[in-house]
Symmetry: C2
Subunit: 216 residues, 2 copies
Amino acid sequence: MNDPIRILIVDDHAVVRKGLAMVLRLEPDLEIVGEAENGRIGLEAAKNLNPDIVLVDLVMPEMDGQEMALALRKANPKIKIMMLTGTEVDDRVFDLVAAGIEGYVLKNIEPGELVRAIHAVTHGEAYLHPDVMKKIVGRIKPHQTSAVALTPREMEILEWMASPNTYKQIASRLNVSEETIRSHAKNILEKMKQPNRAQAVLSAMRMGLIKLDEVK
Amino acid sequence: MNDPIRILIVDDHAVVRKGLAMVLRLEPDLEIVGEAENGRIGLEAAKNLNPDIVLVDLVMPEMDGQEMALALRKANPKIKIMMLTGTEVDDRVFDLVAAGIEGYVLKNIEPGELVRAIHAVTHGEAYLHPDVMKKIVGRIKPHQTSAVALTPREMEILEWMASPNTYKQIASRLNVSEETIRSHAKNILEKMKQPNRAQAVLSAMRMGLIKLDEVK
DNA sequence: GGCCGCATCCCCCGTGCGGGGGATGCCAAA
DNA sequence: TTTGGCATCCCCCGCACGGGGGATGCGGCC
């Protein structure tokens, strides 16, 4: 096998630390290289020990898990971070996954599942607890409003409307008259019930008609 | 143990169906109750057989996996759906997870992993392939590009700029002169190097300064 | 053949907005 | 104390855009 996975545990409750360590030590390919009782100490320990992965409790005195995770991510992005928390999933998960935290598990996780999660995360995968996933997926589709019936040409124009180009510029790109573009735009705005170009684009994005990254 | 998990397999390739069935039959608590070679037949079969979970290939003739999944979800939301697809993850995953599909795995998945995925999904969890997860998480934080130094007031105005309100309307909401808003807007556009209000909003959204759902 | 959706093109008007130039008062840092 | 950032307010200009009214030709559908 490969080298063992080097783990740092950060939690303010000694029982939790010891419990985790005991469970994880049963696995031959896992190695506990350190423990810390708050974020500040944990951050220092992570810098010194350079573990493969850090298990961090979210709620801690002095420096909580979120603060520590963000700082550690900045200091050494190669160290994987697995957030541990109680049974509730609060809104901080969005900031955390956005910051690139690899793992997020609840403390009632089965030991075997935790081990699998650790393996997944150290192998570059992401492991999010089903409840976390549900929450994130829920945010993905805030409004799946009824699709608007746009013609293919209108869809094309709509994409161009998301670009910085003026109607005149769009017209010259598409080799048609500016009036044609304005005419399409008028129809689009009416169909989408939007007051102006900017709102139409935002609305289209909400409906999934336009992707944020594919703008001309 | 409990009753076995009743599985319906929907794939247009007989080899894939047989292969899957063979692998899954090795598990004592899994039972293959039916096979179908396209979405239309699969949909009927699902209604008749009432399986616990349906494994659906994404690309199929007649009625593809997405179409079938959405129809089945509508017809009987209690039947879990696990989408099977090739090696690439296309944009349809967003629609699928938004529609509440529980599982999404690539066909190169290890058999053991597939069995675990089936168990997870039938137990009410979500199982998304790591690449899918990455894509979804990536959408949460599209680009965390270098932040632009906006003053608090400018940030506030920027959020209002994403709304349908004209500068005059924003001004009256905030109890300041229209000129003040225009002045802030000018500074914002200059700082963000954007040609107009619409592009500034899009750019701000890309940078994560504005969230799509929190528009005034 | 008639109807209709679709894409193309045209005109006019009012106004929202971008870009340029200012000014004032406040507060904190130097 | 002076400087500089910040928020507020003012004026002018030109253009992009929204909203209203059209027209033409093409293709499919009944």
